[in-house]
């Protein structure tokens, strides 16, 4: 039989042998594979006639091995060229190593639950260790202020603060504007639209200013801290710092933490002023004079509203930066690790902000603020 290297693979039977002809490669075997394996009688002697096979690569030999496996005995190859015989031998050697079993089924519920608890406890331990190491680095730096990396801290402050100002101002202005519009409708029914100024000022100074600024910090800087430090971890730069005798916490974490804590009040003040500007533009368009608006704000808000909000901001800033850096330091291996660290930093940061805000609400209530 003439062997054509380009003819399609075909299966026929002759004198008890299975005749495979044409081209035996990955593309041409698609239609033939299952038919060829099914043609083998388990336990019977297998003879494969390859005299009409013009080309057989490793995919072709994989089919021959699959047929052998079904037969349960090595196949007798008839008419195969020496190269194909060599290939089959190579494939047999390669396939002779029994692969390990595939990963077993998912663990049972109690096992999964136990593993999840252990993971959580480890995570908690890591956070406590991070807090301790950061506290130690802070104390050491406080004792020797010149050891602080001032240039890096200022650079981080610029990234965290100055570069975030346009976004903070825009969101603050729009939020003040939206809040004023939304609240003016129900208050107008009682002829109380002048109190829109009080409502917006108090809610922004006490609650929304710090909260929104912290959410922006988490989204912009918390994720950036985790990604930066995570990439350094993957590139073994953290290990390099450690082996050079440099404390990664003082070198990397402290400048970011300090920058976030220092810049948060700046962002909150910018957010507050922008929100008041947004609210004022609505009040002015409703016909209230500037004097009336400013009088409402000044009379009905006190230092405790403004400074309470700023105090919350300091804590929010520390929490967001701390979580971002902690997630970066805990980055695992693999291409998804940095992305996962950044996501965990944002989610963890926002959850921490809300929880801390709840604690502050209770504290301020008890303190009568």
């Amino acid at each position: 039989m003439a062997a054509s290297p380009t003819a399609d693979a075909a299966l026929t039977r002759r004198d008890g042998a299975i005749v495979l002809s044409g081209r035996l490669d990955a593309r041409s075997l698609a239609t033939l594979w299952e038919e060829a394996v099914a043609a083998v009688t388990p336990g019977a002697t297998l003879t494969i006639d390859l005299s009409g096979c013009g080309y057989c690569d490793l995919s072709g030999t994989a089919l021959l091995l699959a047929m052998e496996e079904r037969a349960g005995t090595p196949a007798r190859l008839v008419g195969a060229d020496p190269r194909t015989v060599r290939l089959v031998e190579r494939a047999r050697e390669a396939g002779a190593v029994r692969p390990p079993p595939a990963p077993g089924p998912a663990p049972s519920l109690p096992v999964a639950l136990g593993e999840a608890v252990v993971r959580r406890l480890r995570d908690l331990g890591m956070r406590i260790a991070f807090l301790g190491q950061t506290a130690a680095a802070t104390a050491l730096t406080a004792m020797r202020p010149r050891s602080l990396r001032l240039a890096d801290t200022l650079h981080q402050a610029e990234e965290v603060g100055s570069r975030a100002l346009p976004l903070v101002c825009m969101i603050g202005f729009l939020f003040g504007l939206i809040l004023a519009f939304q609240s003016s409708i129900p208050l107008r029914q009682f002829g109380a639209d002048i109190f829109v100024a009080n409502l917006v000022a108090i809610s922004v100074f006490r609650e929304l200013g710090p909260l929104l600024s912290a959410v922006i910090l988490a989204a912009r800087s918390g994720s950036a801290f985790a990604a930066e430090i995570g990439t350094m971890k993957v590139n073994e730069e953290i290990d390099a710092l450690t082996t050079m005798g440099l404390d990664p916490f003082r070198f990397l974490v402290l400048p970011r933490l300090l920058a976030a804590v220092v810049m948060m009040p700046v962002l909150i003040v910018a957010m507050n002023l922008a929100a008041i500007a947004g609210m004022s533009s609505v009040m002015l368009s409703l016909g209230f004079p500037w004097a009336a608006i400013s009088s409402q704000v000044v009379t009905w808000t006190g230092p405790s509203d403004v400074f309470g909000g700023l105090a919350k901001g300091l804590v929010f800033g520390a929490a967001v930066a701390g979580i971002g850096c902690a997630r970066g330091m805990a980055t695992g291996v693999g291409p998804r690790a940095v992305g996962e660290a950044a996501t965990a930093a944002v989610v963890g940061g926002i959850v921490a902000i809300i929880v801390l805000d709840g604690i502050f609400a209770v504290l301020f209530y008890l303190m009568g603020w």
């Binding site: 490669d25 990955a26 593309r27 075997l29 698609a30 239609t31 594979w33 299952e34 690569d57 490793l58 995919s59 030999t61 994989a62 089919l63 091995l65 699959a66 190269r83 060599r86 290939l87 190579r90 494939a91 050697e93 390669a94 396939g95 002779a96 190593v97 029994r98 692969p99 390990p100 595939a102 990963p103 291996v333 693999g334 291409p335 998804r336």
Partner: protein, 264 residues
């Protein structure tokens, strides 16, 4: 010097797996190399070598169609790669395999899934057949027992071997390898060299290998070209063992005999 000139054009398309003609590459005003001409014959292990920064990996990227040369033409498996676009170029790219320097395994897939990906994407084989073929490829490179591991769990040598298994998944006639033994210990590196030689001999695969590892070059190469940064092109071509013994070009002699250029 054995041969400092470009090889003669080989018009017989059946005997040539890849053909590079008067190729130049520039980045802005910087010329990396120019007037590079050579042929890769079918079935041989062809090594592109040279010192750091001479443009070896750039030349490889031109040959696999990732970049376009500033001048000249590159013909791969009988088709000029620069003249093909879109699906036509992708069809040609499916006919050769590439192993990148880092391995470039997909981190979200197991080793087996990495090797099975081209088979699942470009053939209509049933899943059991795909798995069997992928396992044979992994067995060939000695990774049968690592099929279910993720790339992050592999050593450097295992990553390179898994990347070779993926590169030969579709049994291509031509495979490009970028620095296969870079960063590996001598034993792992020798194992990889033996694997390349056996794949070339047993499967008839043509290999184009970029490397500057002298031991690997002498172990695997049928022919080499040597690029040089200063000369901005090819300074030697031929059998590496003959180049080592006979070349009088100071850089070629220094490279193959591990001496300072111009030294003893």
């Amino acid at each position: 010097m054995v041969s400092a000139s470009a090889s003669a054009a080989v018009s017989d398309g059946d005997g040539v797996a890849a053909s590079v003609r008067r190729v130049a590459m520039r980045f802005g005003a910087t010329t990396v190399f120019e007037n590079v001409t050579f042929d890769v014959r079918r079935g041989e292990v062809f090594v592109i070598l040279g010192g750091s920064g001479c443009g070896k990996s750039t030349l490889l990227k031109l040959m696999i169609g990732l970049h376009a040369p500033a001048e000249g033409t590159i013909t791969i498996l009988g088709q000029e790669i620069g003249a093909l676009h879109g699906e036509a170029r992708r069809r040609l790219q499916r006919r050769f395999g590439v192993m990148f320097q880092s391995g470039a395994l997909f981190g979200s897939m197991s080793v087996l899934e990495n090797v099975a990906l081209p088979l699942a994407s470009f053939t209509a084989l049933p899943p059991a057949a795909i798995e069997r073929i992928a396992r044979i490829k992994l067995g060939l490179v000695g990774l049968a027992d690592a099929a279910h591991r993720m790339p992050a769990q592999l050593s450097g040598g295992m990553i390179k071997r898994a990347a070779i298994a993926r590169a030969i998944a579709l049994d291509p006639p031509l495979v490009f390898l970028d620095e296969p033994s870079a960063g590996l210990d001598p034993i792992t590196s020798a194992g990889l060299d033996a694997l390349i030689v056996s794949l070339a001999r047993d499967l008839g695969i043509t290999f184009v290998v970029v490397t500057h590892e002298l031991a690997s070059i002498l172990a695997i190469a049928d022919r080499v070209i040597m690029l040089d940064r200063e000369a901005r092109g090819v300074i030697a071509e031929g059998d590496p063992r003959r180049l080592k013994a006979e070349s009088t070009h100071p850089l070629v002699h220094a490279f193959f005999n591990r001496t300072e250029p111009g030294g003893a």
